[in-house]
Amino acid sequence: MTTTPLADRATAVAARATELSKVYGQGETRVVALDRVTVDFRQAQFTAIMGPSGSGKSTLMHCVAGLDSFSAGSVRIGDTELGSLKDKQLTKLRRDKIGFIFQAFNLLPTLTALENITLPMDIAGRKPDKQWLDTVIGMIGLADRLSHRPSQLSGGQQQRVAVARALASRPDIIFGDEPTGNLDSRSGAEVLGFLRNSVRELGQTVVMVTHDPVAAAYADRVIFLADGRIVDELYEPTADSVLDRMKRFDAKGRTS
């Protein structure tokens, strides 16, 4: 196996899960969604989390992103330990340190594209950094669509606005939950391209859950989950190498 002790890597850690467990239900109905997962997400790195349905990949992301509570272990975003935070503090943490891109329902239909982009700052009551905002908007290439409402934008454009929103507040880390799941391949490629650029050019940290090997190929590193555990890891992936690994798990799953 190529699993190396991740903590030994040199660059700073943006988020870290240690012995993270998440258990639903009790007794007969007890389901272990995450089983003592330890993983680091390094700064300026694009990580994809993959795994079959029910592997716990979304749960891992939700727990690390402070969207969901966990049963045991610890999660750190930067220097902040999430386990001890109350809802209010968690909300503040998400607002200030984390960016989100969901599969759908990313945008408020009543707000214009620009207003949607600056929403996290509006919530915080902060003025957006004009220069940075221009950079982000320039990157996603929607400068002429800023006053449009989401209903006037295509699905791909909507997701690009969502990416811009996630980037606009310069979070420590951006989480994406199947961000291209609802898009056609061309729009999906665009969005993934922006995410990769934001990591390469802007030094952003991105963690993305996906089940699409092509999407995962945009990442610097792929983590494979199965049955709530990290079972494999791949650096500099290509769609083929990812697909290969997945086939191996599938085969394993069938034979075991």
Partner: protein, 845 residues
């Protein structure tokens, strides 16, 4: 189809809850009103029927109409007639009945029974079968009375006690000789009944030797009808008419039913308003349910359901909801009916006992109203559901309501509103009652127009609130945008609140203006320091005037004496005054001539002058009771007010023309004292009248307090009744917010994820609610002021002192109320929104 509809109802229990509640409240109001009025009415009828047990035939005065300049002399029921009637074959006994007002004071000197139910009567002979004596014995002579057992118990009077009472002025202090039992309806309803012996009663109430009625009982075996025809033979037709006990009971029953139906219809109007408001909620709910089920309904269409079937499935759903709500409403209504009866008895107004009456009619009405209202309100959403194309099942995009289709709606709304405003404005130019009908029509058209226009109005009005909302940061911004997101829904919700507030504001504006006008009128025209009158509004004896004139410090006294007269073949009521003093006691604006009353000189008000074509100097002849005539000359024409109007002439002239035994009918006596109004002066007047419990001595402030109290009472009653409409509107706001929260759960989940905390989410929902409620409030108050002003213009055409008084403080309170409604209504939806599981919300669908 029925099963699908039923499943839908069950699946959307929570979302239908508010609809059910709204319909239920309306139905409860309707059925509560019916149960209450039926119960009371039946109880009264039973108790009054009991009162006729002792009557087989009643002989009553015949009415002789006035003719020409002559006032007809009304016949008297004399002892002679009584004796004749008593001798008729089949008559067992005949009783001469005498009744009148008798104010009985309790031990603190206060009036028992509120004035209007203080009855007096005669105890017939030694053993009156109408009033079985429980304790003591029958009253004898002018210094003894018997009182009813309920009153005795309430006031703590026993046989042998000396009590104070008053019939028309002078205070009497007779001894209680006996306590009797009675089924009298008035007593059952909380009044008092005081009995004198027959001679005393006749002297006090009428003239000696006259009865109000003669009641006859039949010997066993004689039917009421036979006895009646026997009596008819001995009673001259122009003196008296006969009626059987059964007919009397029937007549009374009809009267009770008529008076109760007034109350019932009044209450039903308010129930109707509450139900009307409820239809907005129902329509809103079904619109949302249909919108949410677009795919499902499209699927039904795709697999072969016809448009009609789709509409029908929505209507069946409405039927089930309406039926559930109606049954619940009926149950609550029966409870309300029972509670209202208890409430009334605890307030001191005794209602005769009787079972709670729930008629099949009540049940049918309640069920029908509930079901029909719900189905009617769901009809439009049902039609809309049928228009969903089958292809919508495949597409992922919901066909949502947009502002596009509002163009037609706005045009219609603008036309209606314009026509309504124009009609109302036109009506204000008309005189008094001529304007009522056009104004009513205009008001209805305008309200409909504003309903239709509310979606359009919501944008600018809510935008106007933006600067305030900006204080609340992102929550305020989102709230503002959310509230105009579905203009139709916001409009329907706000309209529901608008109706109640329009009515409340309109009535408050009217009442306030009227109160000021009447108060001003009294203050402007009356120079007297005190006005003395009977507590129940009945006539004072002329004794009162004499006693007041003799009191220390009194400089001028005049009664306002009512007298009937015939002028030019028409009946006119003239007011007799003390011609020497009236100028000092009142001051009126004069149209022409001089304010001079004395001898043959009279003053007349503008209205009667116009009607009769009189001017200063015109002479006319008036015929009075007893047949005498008097030539009178108009000295001046004055502008009348609510207190004093018509023809004023000198009492000395009047007395000369009336028969000697006429009882003066003084409505009030005005008094001026040397020292002006003061507590000491009032005490002196009260003492001069023997501290009479039945007499009110009021100065200007008391009079305006009286007026104010009357208006306050009326307004409070109206507020209470309209509160139901507001409560239903609150349900509507809750409903709308709950729907919004439900529909936007994904958005709310996303907002939570990207960092909006629970407090801010709650604030967002609360502010949206506040915006919608205040929008409805502003519309309602605005319309209310307009209607109040317009109705006032009609009043002003007849009332010189009327001017619009805007109750700013009250209006502020109403706006605050609307705001409170908003905040309260948002409590539950806001909490739900804040508790939303954001992961589930984001993942949903």
């Amino acid at each position: 189809m029925f099963r699908t509809a039923l499943r839908n109802v069950l699946a959307h229990k929570a979302r239908l809850l508010m609809t059910v509640l709204a319909v239920m409240l309306g139905v409860a109001f309707v059925s509560g009103t019916l149960v209450f009025t039926n119960t009371i009415s039946e109880a009264y009828q039973k108790s009054s029927a009991k009162g006729f047990d002792q009557v087989d035939v009643a002989v009553q005065q015949a009415y002789r109409p006035d003719e020409g300049d002559r006032i007809a002399e009304q016949p008297k029921l004399t002892p002679e007639l009584l004796r004749k009637v008593a001798k008729v074959p089949g008559a067992e006994s005949a009783t001469g009945v005498v009744t009148g007002f008798t104010a009985l004071a309790d031990k603190d000197g206060k009036l028992i029974g509120g004035g209007f139910q203080s009855q007096g009567g005669n105890y017939w002979g030694k053993d009156d079968p109408r009033y079985p004596i429980e304790e003591g014995r029958a009253p004898r002579g002018p210094n003894e009375i018997a009182i009813d057992a309920k009153t005795a118990e309430r006031a703590g009077y026993k046989v042998g006690d000396t009590v104070r009472l008053s019939v028309d002025g002078p205070v009497l202090s007779p001894t209680v000789s006996g306590v009797f039992r009675t089924d009298d309806g008035n007593v059952a309803a909380g009044g008092s009944l005081t009995l004198f012996d027959t001679a005393t009663a006749q002297k006090l109430f009428h003239s000696p030797g006259a009865y109000d009625e003669i009641t006859v009982t039949a010997t066993p075996g004689t039917s009421q009808d036979r006895l009646r025809s026997a009596i008819d033979k001995v009673v001259p037709e122009d003196v008296a008419a006969t009626i059987t006990g059964e007919q009397l009971a029937d007549r009374q029953a009809t009267q009770i039913a008529a008076s109760m139906s007034g109350l019932k219809n009044g209450l039903l109007v308010f129930a109707g308003i509450a139900l009307f408001v409820g239809t907005f909620i129902i329509a809103n709910t079904f619109t949302m349910l249909v919108a949410q089920r677009t795919k499902e309904l499209a699927l039904l269409r795709a697999v072969g359901a016809s448009r009609r079937q789709v509409t029908r499935s929505v209507l069946i759903e409405a039927f089930v909801v309406g039926a559930i709500a109606a049954v619940a409403g009926l149950a609550v209504g029966v409870g309300i009916g029972a509670a209202m009866r208890t409430l009334i008895s605890t307030l001191g107004e005794t209602v005769p006992d009787g079972p709670l009456v729930v008629t099949p009619g009540t049940v049918a009405t309640a069920l029908l109203v509930g079901v029909l209202i719900t189905m009617l309100a769901a009809w439009l959403p049902g039609r809309r559901a049928a228009k969903i194309p089958p292809v919508a099942a495949m597409s992922s995009v919901h066909a949502k309501a947009t502002t596009r289709s509002l163009v037609l709606r706005n045009t219609i709304g603008a036309l209606f509103s314009g026509a309504g405003v124009a009609t109302v404005l036109y009506a204000t130019t008309l005189e008094g009652s001529d304007g009522q009908v056009p104004m009513g029509i205009g008001a209805v058209v305008l309200i409909i127009g504003v309903f239709v226009l509310t979606p359009l109005l919501s944008r600018p009005l809510i935008a106007a609130a933006a600067p305030v909302l900006r204080i609340f940061g992102i929550s305020g911004k989102l709230a503002r945008q959310n509230s105009v997101r579905n203009p139709r829904r916001t409009a329907a919700t706000a309209s529901a609140l608008m109706i109640g507030l329009t009515l409340i504001t309109g009535m408050t504006v009217m009442a306030g203006s009227l109160q000021t006008a009447i108060g001003k009128m009294a203050a402007d025209s009356i120079k007297a320091d005190y006005v003395v009158s009977m507590a129940n509004g009945s006539y004072l004896s002329s004794d009162v005037e004499k006693k007041l004139a003799g009191a220390e410090g009194v400089t001028a006294v005049s009664p306002l004496r009512n007298a009937e007269s015939r002028i030019d073949g028409q009946t006119e009521y003239v007011t007799g005054v003390n011609g020497d003093a009236i100028g000092e006691l009142t001051t009126f604006p004069l149209d022409e001539g001089a304010f001079e009353v004395g001898g043959t000189k009279v003053v007349v008000d503008t209205e009667s002058a116009q009607r009769n074509g009189w001017k200063a100097g015109t002479s006319f002849t008036a015929g009075f009771e007893g047949g005498e005539r008097q030539k009178l000359t108009v000295a001046g024409v004055y502008e009348a007010n609510e207190l004093i109007r018509g023809i004023l002439l000198d009492n000395r002239t009047l007395e000369k023309r009336l028969p000697a035994d006429t009882r003066p009918a003084d409505m009030m006596v005005m008094v001026r004292t040397s020292s002006g109004a003061s507590d000491a002066a009032k005490d002196r007047l009260a003492k001069a009248l023997g501290d009479n419990p039945a007499i009110k001595i009021q100065d200007g402030d008391d009079l305006s307090d009286d007026i104010a109290q009357m208006f306050t009472l009326m307004l409070n009653l109206l507020y209470g009744l309209l509160a139901m409409a507001v409560i239903v509107a609150v349900l509507g706001v809750i409903n709308t917010l709950a729907m919004s929260v439900f529909e936007r759960s994904q958005e709310i989940g996303m907002l939570r994820a990207i960092g909006l905390d629970r407090r801010a989410i709650k604030r967002m929902v609360r502010l949206e609610s506040l915006v919608i409620s205040l929008f409805g409030g502003v519309l309602g108050i605005g319309l209310g002021v307009f209607f109040g002003w317009a109705a006032g213009e009609l009043v002003a055409s007849r009332m010189a002192t009327y001017e619009l008084v805007l109750p700013w403080a009250r209006m502020g309170v109403f706006l605050l109320l609307a705001g409170t409604v908003g905040v309260l209504a948002a409590m539950w939806p806001a909490r739900r929104a804040a508790k939303l599981n954001m992961l589930a919300a984001i993942k949903a669908e």
